[in-house]
Symmetry: C2
Subunit: 105 residues, 2 copies
Amino acid sequence: METLKVSTKSSPNSVAGAIAGAMRQAGAVEIQVVGAGALNQAIKAVAIARGYVAASGLDLVCIPTFADIEIDGERRTAIRLSVEDRTHRRAQPLPHVDLETLRIN
Amino acid sequence: METLKVSTKSSPNSVAGAIAGAMRQAGAVEIQVVGAGALNQAIKAVAIARGYVAASGLDLVCIPTFADIEIDGERRTAIRLSVEDRTHRRAQPLPHVDLETLRIN
């Protein structure tokens, strides 16, 4: 599964686009953040991405867990958000719509 | 459905206990936060609460949405986290365990 690393400077709209793309390709995506500012951008992105994928029949949910990671030799506690369809569905391609076109939007 | 208002000063462990209690009583709970610090405490609380309710057969997920709210006459954008069981299950009381006891833990 793809892991998106989101920071305080990440644009929620761009991250939302990446989430939607990963959901269509792999059915799930993981977001890793360190710190409140980064988490804020990530959660906003999930809220936006819910709208992006709803038309494909997906009901995005997120599952937060703690993760111990090492950054520059220092131990930090990260938060991982597993972003999945509620019932593990894969996106249904819309009739008469090219997948490539969907990915651009 | 109960709405928990979480702030920067909220203890994630206490909020996790409140989430677990609400999940057992109502099957779902909503958390409302304004700002990155408050969201951070709320998401940590959900991560902790997942462990609390797993023994009852619940798979906690959270669904973030935006909400326009008014605080002291000013418009703010809040984030609402709908905390639910993935498949809308209700907690199964453990055999030989009194519900009142469960609620205290």
